[in-house]
């Protein structure tokens, strides 16, 4: 029983990374219609930025958690201003290819500068050891990741539902043209929203830094699973991205625990199953409706 609880917590922790990054991906797709293949590379940049800040400026984890998303927000703004916006009016496939190419460039630049063996990172103060909850030993860090990602998802949810900006983002996600017809300047929000989505990927990256090897390739597998997450949740659905993120984390953990040979396939079997029965994803809206 205690093993099951441990697997659940680990699954939710892994799911937290997916949920945060998928949230960014969903928001970007919703407002811009851009399928951002470089999301995994931005996740990697977040982790690399944390490692470099530690190495060069001795910025510790808790401070990096606040600084790196801001840095990645600026990176996102640059990306959108310099590259993405020129292809927005075209078929989404163009920006998909652009972001794919961008991810290859980013990964290779990091590889050239830092090699492939990875960058060292500290164990954050106060995160070592285990918490004993109900007699079960749970790694403190896993519990932190779970709760913190839920908190951020909650904050983003509040932002989206309780603020005017959030209302604009949600309306644009649902139907950008109709929103414009109502007199809202959707274009003004495109750049900040893109930056925000990238910042979320970077935040997931910083959180992963103490937990995962910080290598140039760390985002490559991550982005594949991320796409499975948004397909399961429904491309463009923000709630769907979060729920599917945690769900996929759990499926991965239980798969590894109880059926290791099928663990890597399980996520995609789930995706195939969801698409068969609900083509728009669990929370997605059928476009023909």
């Amino acid at each position: 029983m205690s093993a099951f609880v441990q697997y659940t917590v680990q699954g939710l922790a892994a799911g937290g990374f997916y949920a945060l990054a998928a949230l960014g991906l969903a928001v970007i797709f919703g407002v811009l219609g851009v399928v951002n293949f470089s999301h995994g590379a931005c996740y990697m940049l977040g982790a690399v930025a944390a490692a470099v800040l530690l190495d060069v400026l001795h910025v510790h984890f808790w401070v990096a958690l606040a600084i790196v998303p801001i840095l990645l927000f600026l990176v996102g703004v640059l990306m959108e201003r310099l590259l993405i916006r020129w292809l927005l009016r075209l078929d989404p496939l163009y920006n998909f290819l652009l972001t794919f190419g961008l991810s290859l460039i980013l990964v290779d630049v990091v590889k050239r500068r830092y090699g492939v063996s990875g960058l060292p990172y500290e164990r954050p103060a106060g995160m070592a050891g285990q918490l004993h909850i109900g007699g079960i030993g749970l790694p403190t860090y896993s519990v932190f990741v779970c709760l913190f990602s839920l908190l951020i998802c909650g904050v983003v949810w509040l932002l989206l539902t309780k603020t005017r900006v959030g209302m604009i983002v949600r309306a644009s996600t649902e139907d950008a043209d109709r929103t414009r017809a109502l007199g809202i300047n959707v274009g003004r929000w495109v750049t900040p929203v893109f930056g925000f989505g990238i910042a979320l990927a970077g935040l997931a990256g910083v959180m992963a830094a103490p937990f995962r090897a910080i290598t140039a390739d760390m985002g490559s597998n991550f982005v594949i699973i991320l796409f499975a997450v948004v397909v399961i949740g429904g491309l463009g659905s923000i709630l769907g991205a979060v729920v599917a993120g945690f769900l996929v984390g759990l499926v991965e953990a239980y798969g590894q625990a109880y059926a290791p040979t099928f663990a890597q396939v399980a996520i995609f079997v789930l995706m195939a199953g969801v698409v068969l029965f609900r083509p728009a994803g669990l929370f997605g809206r059928d476009e023909s409706a």
Binding site: Q6, V116, S117, P120, A128, G129, A213, T215, D217, P260
Partner: protein
Amino acid sequence: MRNKKPAAVVAVAVLGSLALAACGGGGPTAAGGKLSDGKVVIGLLNDQSGVYKDLSGPNSKVAIQMAIDDYKAKYGAKAVAKTIEIVTADHQNKPDIANTKAQEMYDRQNADIILDVPTSSAALAVATVAKAKKKLFIDITAGTTELTGKSCNKYTYAWAYDTAMLAKGTGAAVVRNGGKSWSIVYPDYAFGQSMNKSFTEAVTGAGGTVQQSIATPFPNDNFATFITKAASTTPQVIGIMAAGGDLINFVKQYNQAGMQSKAQLAVGLMFITDIHSLGVDQFAGTTFTEPWYWNFDAQNKAWADRFQAKTGTRPTFAHAGNYSAALNYLEAVQAAGTDDADAVRKQLDGKKINDIFLRNGQIRSDHRVVHDVYLAKVKTKAQVTEPWDYEKIVQTIPAADAFEPVSAACKM
């Protein structure tokens, strides 16, 4: 009548060129010191861009070039191999690509020998190609014992280490020091399966027990559930058989889960680049078996200084192994007077070698090179005196004890 003249010209041309060919440089099978196409071509096949790039990768070309320079300096005008080229290819750790690249190297680039080849599944593929093409292959960086076991052939050599040597060193030593109950976590592919088998044998042979062997996907970056599983039987030792990036992920998550106080960590295969990338502190106190360490003695350090002057970094055992294999190959070419594979391997078989890489080394009948290896412990941050000085050599394991005896499964 008019048509016969061109035919006659063609006939003369053909006969003439045949005559020229017969008098010319001769082929690989010509006796008396001839080189195939007039030069020696050394092929370097490894991971040039992926997870194993740092432990061997492009810097191994530098090491091989150092061997070529040393060979030329030694023999000067008397060198049999006056023109020596290096060709490189990236197998991306995939056996199918390794297979294709090896064939290309032997056939199209006229490679006389292929060196390195990390990733056991790729190494086995190249061994098959070497056997078919009847050309030499010295593996440095792959660990599977099958290379000198079931899949051995007379053109294939294993130069640096294998999983049995790692198990005998680390497994037996840790059991002797009190770590009797083990959980083994291994990546589910050729190397991992070989490590699991070797370590299980070594641990049980030394009087310990293996409570469970847990297979993980390869590659993998999330080991949380596997660590929980391994810890569930409360073993004294958790043995991790993953290498490279997977090892880093595992150790990070292992430490983060607070496991250091619960079980001892034994690492199956570690390269100095792994310690460098994770940081000494996270590996501090870990025991592992090292085929070669750059700071072991003055001789190694001198070579490591030369390597550092050219690359800006310290060598792993793979770099030193490539240097040693290339140099000994060229010496064998020198002794045979030709680069014909069969003549050269007769010079290599049974040879005793003492160089910067191999101490008390010998090439055995199964083409396994046995040599002294070292039990190493990772230093704490306070003990590190200069960059890359991460290892403390605790014990030298003599060649006679380090490796398993010749396997009955090897039939050349």
